[in-house]
């Protein structure tokens, strides 16, 4: 891996979070357009984030929903 790729790797998280400056964004995109090595890894990162989110999402148990509703303070 050469230096532009190392730099691109450093930019990956900020890029996905949309917090790069316009100039940094343009640099990252220019590199990604010509580097399949980094492009694959960026694509993977994108899929990974979606996948982690899906895998970690648990529905709230119905019982807990009822318990929370029962905590409401009754009207006097």
């Amino acid at each position: 891996m050469n230096d532009p790729c190392a730099h691109c790797e450093e930019m990956m998280q900020p890029y996905m979070d949309h917090i790069l400056t316009d100039e940094e964004m343009a640099q990252a995109e220019a590199h990604l357009a010509r580097c399949e090595y980094c492009r694959k890894r960026y694509k993977f990162e994108q899929s990974l984030r979606i996948y982690v989110r899906k895998a970690a999402t648990e529905q709230m148990p119905a019982e807990l929903r009822q318990k929370l509703a029962a905590l409401r303070i009754p009207l006097e």
Partner: protein, 211 residues
């Protein structure tokens, strides 16, 4: 004449009293309505709060208890919520404080954390172990749901909290900073390192399965 004036004074006093009662009744009715609306809004957010709480807490049971304590406290102190501000963040601020109060954060600031892998490490690891399939969407599927939940729970609290709030809960850096009572810069650095730690954990579980 004097008697009529006296009656008038008494009448005026009674009217003033009745007006004060009516105002008080009106105030109580408004307050009751506001409180009911608050409770309904808070309950409507409970699914979203749980999604985050589940991984801020150490287990499903802890998440269950924390949710109940949070809602009990929120219902008691509803007056301190400022209408028009972010209620989900307000609820999670309560939940985070309760989590800290309950002493569930035994892992402290990770001075001793091993150096996490770089960002490309997990992809390299998974694509090496694979069958040469290069479709990035398929590479990610080599991880099971269990791998992900286990890896996430292995990330130390300080890092996990920000990952959970930002990546699972969709909170902005600023909201996460407010909920956790830490500077925005700290949110950013913990997020950066936390995601790398998560990937290191995922790579380890993928490696264990391969052997």
């Amino acid at each position: 004449m004097a008697a009529a004036v006296g009656e008038g004074v008494v009448l005026a006093g009674t009217v003033a009293h009745m007006e004060a009662d009516a105002e008080e009744a009106q105030r109580l009715a408004t307050e009751a309505r506001d409180r009911i609306r608050f409770e309904e809004d808070a309950l409507a957010l409970s699914d979203q709060v749980y999604r985050v709480a589940r991984h801020l807490a150490s287990s499903r049971e802890d998440a269950d208890e924390l949710m109940q304590e949070t809602y009990a406290r929120a219902f008691r102190s509803w007056r301190s919520f400022q209408p028009g501000t972010n209620m989900r963040a307000w609820l999670l601020r309560i939940l985070t404080n309760l989590n800290i109060d309950r002493g569930r954060r035994q892992q402290r600031a990770p001075q001793m954390q091993p150096l996490e892998a770089n960002d490309y490490f997990l992809y390299d690891r998974l694509s090496e172990d694979g069958d040469g399939v290069s479709d990035e969407d398929r590479v990610v599927e080599r991880l099971s749901q269990d791998d992900i939940v286990t890896a996430l729970s292995a990330v130390p609290h300080d890092f996990r909290d920000v990952i959970v709030l930002v990546d699972l809960g969709d909170f902005s850096y600023a909201d996460a900073a407010q909920i956790l009572d830490i500077p925005v810069g700290t949110v950013m650095s913990r997020l950066h390192r936390g995601r790398r730690i998560l990937k290191r954990e995922l790579a380890e579980s993928a490696l264990e399965e391969a052997t």
